[in-house]
Subunit: 381 residues, 2 copies
Amino acid sequence: MTEAIRYEHLKTCRQSGARLGRIHTPHGVIDTPIFMPVGTLATVKMMSPEELKEMDAQIILSNTYHLWLRPGEDLVEEAGGLHTFMNWDRPMLTDSGGFQVFSLSDLRDIDEEGVRFRNHISGERLFLSPEKAVHIQQSLGADIIMAFDECPPYPASYAYMRDSVARTSRWAERCLKAHDGNNGQQALFGIIQGGEYEDLRRESVEDLVSLDFPGYAIGGLSVGEPKSVMNEVLEQTTQHLPTDKPRYLMGVGSADALIDGTIRGVDMFDCVLPTRIGRNGTCMTSEGRKVIRNASFARDFRPIDEACGCYACRNYSRAYIRHLIKSKEAFGFRLTSYHNLYFLIELMRKVRQAIKEDRLLDFRASFFEQYGFNRPDAKNF
Amino acid sequence: MTEAIRYEHLKTCRQSGARLGRIHTPHGVIDTPIFMPVGTLATVKMMSPEELKEMDAQIILSNTYHLWLRPGEDLVEEAGGLHTFMNWDRPMLTDSGGFQVFSLSDLRDIDEEGVRFRNHISGERLFLSPEKAVHIQQSLGADIIMAFDECPPYPASYAYMRDSVARTSRWAERCLKAHDGNNGQQALFGIIQGGEYEDLRRESVEDLVSLDFPGYAIGGLSVGEPKSVMNEVLEQTTQHLPTDKPRYLMGVGSADALIDGTIRGVDMFDCVLPTRIGRNGTCMTSEGRKVIRNASFARDFRPIDEACGCYACRNYSRAYIRHLIKSKEAFGFRLTSYHNLYFLIELMRKVRQAIKEDRLLDFRASFFEQYGFNRPDAKNF
């Protein structure tokens, strides 16, 4: 059987060890390392597909859990799948719903079969299992789908994590069995867990690699642990992963973590961060984050970021965007969301260029300095 | 002095008496009769300027009262005027704030000098006069601005209306004196009032025409009176207006009223209706209005309007848009707002074509029949 997706390795940065590559998917080729905007409910909040293409978003992510609850995967399938439903003809990835089951639901009951929990909107009792998660994702029809895993909280005890990793491995195998590949149009990734425990991460990698997935996600990070822990876990994990398969670090979207993840061999990232902080009036810029809704920008007629070439920065001032946001006008949130997404997509383009030129550590040093990550009061984005 | 704007009459419909024309403004030429989208706070809600141009919006309106309160006309002036501030390089019109003072403010005190009232957001005491309204509008810098008038409620007693019309005429004269014309880049329109009283409308027209404004607005309509009253007042009013100046019917945006106003000699219309009902999940279509958020559209994969060629109808289904609106996703409101604005702009394009071909009454008959205006339960939009 031909694989639905194929990772093409182009080069390794001699300075940092980061990977430059391409992933071939049924809906086209994406350049890695890459940031994937998140369209939770079959829409990247505030944005049109045309705007996402204009900013060169090559692949987007959608959330299985949310689409399962509304409008329902059967409706999306009836519409012709998620691509047709939301008018996105480029590659797409769905998560398995595992993360949301564990992060959004208070009442849940995990056993070998799956997870019983309550709908976070209606309170209705629901059940999600490896087979069910794969079935939903097959109906949605993304190019890349995820195995159903348990994402334990941070911190979790060693004993808990050991049992959880073993179960996630058994679930991964069930997902593989349940997945029919949508006629070679869909690839199923396994998800590595193990928390901050090196041996459990290693065990998780070995279990999943033995199942020979076409790609591997690294889960259970960016859940509250310090950045140093994340970086250490990444190093321990990626060194054991096959070099001919893509690696996807789930839920990571701060500029420093994208660069540091890339240096540790990660190819794909996703996060709601750029759109979420954008809707709160905060922008990522070449000089660090700016809270555009602050009074200090009321009469500032410069663009959000003078070094940025995005649609928002080419046409609108901080003063105008602040006015819109203060007035709760949607166009203001469109502009900040657009800018932040563009910022991360453009950052990854620069990261790819730096890998090509074997200077990613130099790029990291100057970017961190300019962004303010080296300051004592540095924030995470 | 060269006039900032000039009305060019192209032809009169032999069947209906409607006017086809053009208005030349400092920011370009607009085709009349025309519908003007409303951008209350320096943004047409949900829309980008590029989307407005794509749907062929030739002129937009912004609200003096709202921009005066925030961000303040001095800030807009410092930004280089409203055109630069909001990145709109086509013609623009601002109202005088009169309508909002009377419709949004509970506490107000009118005397000869002007109106004392409270800010509807902060409760702060404010004062607006003919001179102040002109001054603010000069700072904003639209191509067409409005005289400060009193817009009495419907119904108002004859005695009240008589005094109000006389005062509005005196205020109109003060507006003209206060207006310096922004170096020939701005035209000031007078506003006809008089409620449903024929002689007072006539008096208002005579007063204002004697002041020789470059254009005339018809105010005090669409404030709760029956459509028959509106049409009667329009007939009585437009017959006394000079034929070489544009006529603007304020606050009217339902499809039937646009057609009926055009037949009575009106050239310009504005209303928040298309964007407001769009944000509520209601769309205007060739077959009448559709409440897209209704459950009946949950699995309807047809476009909002099968006869429509707009961006929303070319790319998205009722089912998708309903899903977005039910999920309170901004992109859903973008699509319904886009569609409704396109619908009215396209309607006026068809109206102009019908005038050109001397068949506007025929067009009206078939449009009203298809839209459902002839049904006993017909709604206003």
